[in-house]
């Protein structure tokens, strides 16, 4: 167990270096001029060849590959990520400003993933192969086949176009006035939390109203997937000898399912749930674009369209780092949860 943890910890820096190296390789596909554009604030400075050459030398963009990589990595570590033309501010500042919105969205999306995914999965397994199971299963496959952007547009159409309940964006105009200019203290930059800390219920409700549709869109693929995992894990466990023993002893069905089977069946599910939550990072781009939700994903998509390379590269760096660290946490927690691994 301890050796496993140590091995994983030692691998972390190797993987992170590999990830940055791969990103640098992709970055190097661009010409020095295109790479230079990611650092320059005013595009006009690139117009004269002399100043461009001077800047290319300044940022070490003409150096051979290994030196170029070390220089680039050094700048990234110092958080000198360049200038974002799309956000009109430095990439580091732009990330800092947009991160809380994305974090808030992802945190709330965990709730339906865990609750619906696991709950429906258990029901589906208990009613294996009858009508209810088939219905749940087919619904999950359909959910899984629906691309996020089509589902998101559908949600937007129903809840905003027809019903007018959940508008796009993060806050209504009146609420924006209060939050960004008025007498409102931002403690965490998660608007729902801040609103409660300020005791401002109308803002809280407004923020929540803007969150519901993106949450539905971001989470449904994850819970559809988790449902399938829970179902098969539960089916597997229900066929184990100790379950048959429990039933033969006359333990009532409710206890067998919820106390005996579910506990063991959910061990692999926790890992997958962790991976699903990390996996939602990819969906963030689509969801935020559909609902013009001002987070990291919306900004990254805009930057990609406008060929703002610096932003796109930093975005890849940020998300892959989160993913590497997140995967490590999930793996280690799995080792802690499962007694067979912990004691083995």
């Amino acid at each position: 167990m301890l050796s496993y943890i140590i091995r994983r910890m030692l691998l972390l820096p190797i993987i992170l270096i590999g990830v940055t190296f791969l990103i640098f390789c992709v970055f190097s596909l661009l010409s020095p001029m295109e790479r230079l554009a990611t650092y320059v604030r005013d595009p006009n400075t690139l117009k004269s060849p002399q100043s461009a050459e001077r800047l290319i030398a300044k940022y070490h963009l003409d150096e051979p590959f290994p030196l170029g990589y070390i220089n680039w990595l050094g700048r990234m570590v110092r958080l000198d990520l360049g200038w974002s033309q799309t956000a009109n501010q430095s990439v580091a500042d732009a990330i800092k400003q947009r991160f809380p919105a994305t974090l808030e969205l992802v945190l709330y999306s965990i709730i339906p993933v865990i609750l619906i995914g696991i709950w429906l999965g258990v029901i589906s397994a208990v009613h294996h192969n009858d009508m209810l199971d088939q219905t749940i299963r087919v619904t999950a496959i359909i959910g899984w086949s629906l691309p996020t952007f089509i589902f998101g547009l559908f949600v937007l159409f129903i809840f905003y176009g027809i019903l007018g309940w959940f508008p796009p964006g993060r806050l209504s105009a009146w609420a924006q006035d209060i939050v960004y200019t008025g007498n409102f203290t931002s403690y965490t930059h998660l608007i729902t939390v801040d609103a409660l800390l300020n005791g401002n219920i109308p803002i809280f409700l407004d923020a929540l109203r803007h969150l519901i549709a993106p949450i539905i869109t971001l989470s449904y693929i994850s819970w559809a997937f988790l449902l399938r995992i829970t179902r098969s894990s539960m089916l597997d466990t229900l066929r184990k000898d100790y379950i048959r023993t429990a039933r033969a002893k006359g333990v009532d069905e409710h206890t067998v399912i919820h106390l005996h089977a579910k506990r063991n069946a959910l061990i692999p599910v926790t890992t997958i749930a962790g991976m699903m939550i990390i996996g939602m990072l990819g969906g963030v781009m689509i969801t935020e674009t559909v609902f013009t939700f001002p987070g990291l994903g919306f900004w990254a998509a805009q930057s990609a369209q406008q060929l703002d390379y610096g932003t796109v590269i930093s975005f890849a760096l940020l998300f892959s780092t989160i993913m590497v660290v997140g995967n490590l946490v999930v793996d280690l927690s799995y080792a802690l949860i499962d007694p067979r691994v912990r004691l083995g």
């Binding site: 791969l22 992709v26 547009l153 390379y309 975005f315 890849a316 998300f319």
Partner: protein
């Protein structure tokens, strides 16, 4: 093999999948007969008018457009937009039909090439073991450290717009699953006596891998591949939706949805006025992906030895 085919056809869900798939194959094959192209590049959706707003199903080609096609010496064999037109007068029906070919092209080419890369790397890794295995698997880990959509988007942005760039990006970050899968099954097969016997007889490594190990381990990988065709098509469509995939006017369902998304709400008081601009390409993507997933889901249940005899 016969047992599997029989189960695929007798299971309700997979039968629906097969019927859907046959429907799409027919459309893809007969695309030139259903909607003859009006330009030299058949994947360029013809325009029915210059209208900025989408036009409802059944609207006719405008006169000045007919004049242009006449001037280009193209014979206009149809002048009715059965499913309406998108922003800019692009014919939706044409895009749906030729988009089927695009979808098959994306799905099959990307899955085939990434499967090939995965199989080569995975079998080398498992067969030789040791430091080769260690290095190849760490490289796999590094590629797996990116959210798939994010990685594909970044690479497409850097490479530039276009369907070929999208496919390169999908392949670059799509091979890892196969490599791990084939490595796992070869690791368990390579200790079998017939492999040992071949080794003792002095058969070359390449020959052992190709003749003995792969035929016995490749089937689960191919099932996985068929299930991934749907998700590749979704990701390609998502890239088009984000604005880095196929160019505007290209017969690609994702591009068509993306193009129409500004119109989904409709004008004030007429919610859903332009439903057809999103609905038709949307339903085609969903059904296409669904057909692969329905077949794949049943295949997996059939091949899962733990569930054998329960379907």
């Amino acid at each position: 093999m016969n047992r599997i085919l029989k189960k695929l056809f007798s299971n309700g869900t997979s039968l629906i999948g097969i019927i859907l798939l046959v429907f799409f194959i027919i459309i893809a094959i007969f695309a030139p007969a259903i909607t003859p192209p009006l330009s030299d590049d058949p994947y360029q959706i013809p325009r029915m008018s210059w209208d900025i707003n989408p036009q409802p199903p059944g609207s006719l080609m405008s006169d000045d457009m007919k004049e242009i096609y006449g001037f280009l010496e193209k014979e206009v064999k149809w002048e009715k937009a059965i499913c309406g037109t998108a922003e800019g007068g692009y014919d939706i029906f044409y895009g749906l039909i030729w988009g089927t070919r695009t979808a098959f092209k994306i799905g099959i080419i990307t899955v085939f090439i990434s499967m090939l890369i995965g199989i080569i790397l995975g079998s080398i890794s498992a067969y030789f073991g040791g430091w080769i295995d260690e290095i190849l698997m760490r490289i796999t880990d590094i590629f797996l450290s990116f959210p798939f959509l994010v990685a594909a988007m970044v690479l497409t942005t850097v490479l530039g717009r276009g369907l070929d760039k999208v496919m390169i990006a999908l392949i670059s970050f799509g091979w890892m699953g196969y490599a791990r899968l084939i490595r796992g099954s070869i690791l368990s097969t390579k200790e079998e006596t017939y492999v040992m016997a071949a080794k003792a007889l002095g058969v070359s490594d390449t020959k052992i891998i190709w003749k003995h190990l792969l035929p016995n381990t490749i089937f689960p990988v191919m099932v996985q591949g068929s299930m991934n065709i749907g998700s590749m098509v979704i990701t390609a469509a998502a890239l088009s939706f984000l604005g880095v995939g196929a160019p505007v006017g290209y017969a690609d369902w994702g591009q068509m949805v993306s193009f129409a998304r500004n119109w989904i709400i409709g004008s004030p008081g007429h919610a859903g006025q332009y439903w057809y601009a999103v609905f038709y390409p949307g339903i085609f993507i969903v059904l296409f992906v669904l057909s692969w997933n329905l077949i794949g889901d049943t295949l997996r249940d059939i091949l899962d030895p733990r569930l054998r005899g329960e379907l």
